[in-house]
Symmetry: none
Subunit: 127 residues, 4 copies
């Protein structure tokens, strides 16, 4: 469910948080689903429990999960917000990059064809 990229300069707790965020908006993690316990994830990833704890705390602060004392951490039931946020964020990123490409002199066609290719492929090439 989670993995760590030690070479990545992002802090570990951020990596974990981001992974759950992505899984949630893409429907891979479903509302109500239980997250691994702090202890088990800690040993599985070889990471300090404090760091896992911090990641879980951050997830809860974001509203991404709910923590039920004595039970564990669970994906929140209110995830539509995150889907909208992610869409807005992605569109913004695309807008910025496209503007840059326009300034550099790239033709609109080259970009639209890239998109057509992606949507043309029926399958989901998620890694």
């Amino acid at each position: 469910m989670f993995y760590i990229n030690a070479r990545n300069k992002k802090p570990i707790y951020e990596q974990l948080c981001e992974q759950l965020r992505n899984q949630v908006v893409e429907g891979i993690a479903v509302p109500g689903e239980a997250l691994p316990s702090v202890r088990s994830l800690s040993t599985e990833l070889g990471i300090n429990p404090n760091t896992i704890q911090r990641a879980y705390r951050m997830m809860e602060e974001e509203g991404l999960t709910v923590s039920i004392p004595g039970k564990g951490n669970f994906v929140s039931m209110e995830i539509e917000t995150f889907r909208k946020q992610k869409i807005a964020s992605s569109l913004n990123t695309i807008r910025d990059e496209v503007k840059t490409l326009k300034r550099i002199g790239i033709q609109e066609q080259q970009i639209t064809e890239l998109i057509k290719d992606i949507y043309g492929g029926e399958g989901d090439d998620q890694g």
Copy 2:
């Protein structure tokens, strides 16, 4: 020629480097052009000379500039590489984001219209 955004989490030397990178790919900084001296930029921005030095060193390591001791720092003569890199990088970013949006369930049309809007505007909304 350069500015600092204190609110930006990125380190100052990175901001400077990134700004020159953009100016180069957009043709605002032309090959052979002299950069401000370490000291002058330092006082102009209210930044420690060491930090400017580091930014300039990084630019040179990237091949973005050449440093001639006793003379100054100058935009490199071979900048076409950076234009190509930037294009490839931007297209990759767009590809990733579009794939994500597809997975989330966004229609192709919504993205292509965003792009059409950007290219429809004659002006350059830079800065």
Copy 3:
């Protein structure tokens, strides 16, 4: 693990970087091995932490090490590249010098005997 030669004209950060490079290609420093912490090496050598930092940063930029914030600096797992680079570089240097000697009028025999002497000695006259 490291030492400083004050008489050497090369900057300190370069000396450190070069030493690790040599230790790596000669198998003295093994992949995954931890380097001294910035602070400890700083006090051990009587060098400013900033300078050590810079050396370590340069090593990482070269791909010689990986830096994990909060953990330390470690010899990279992919060091075979450096061995090959070093071999190529050494052979090139030898080639250039031999060509010069040929031009000056030195006999081939004089050079080959030098090499035979080196390989004839069983021991390793390192350090």
Copy 4:
């Protein structure tokens, strides 16, 4: 007779000095030969006359040239010393590199063949 590589980090006066040194030991510059005047070389290379002056001064200090006031600078008649120095220096460099290669595990044969190739070619492949 001289050229400047602005990208080279070596100071200009050092580059000039080194070039004459090489030309002398290789017989390209012959004893008694006149060097370009400070003024003419200065304009030819687009270099500050002071820098040329410094290079010429250094050449004279090395005993590489003699300066005759009112006449100019001339290659020294005593150049055999430099030939011997260059040979010693080259042999030392080769010795060091070969030792390194031995330590890394390179076979003697690989090096001797490199040398045989160089001496096998009748011509002088100097650039």
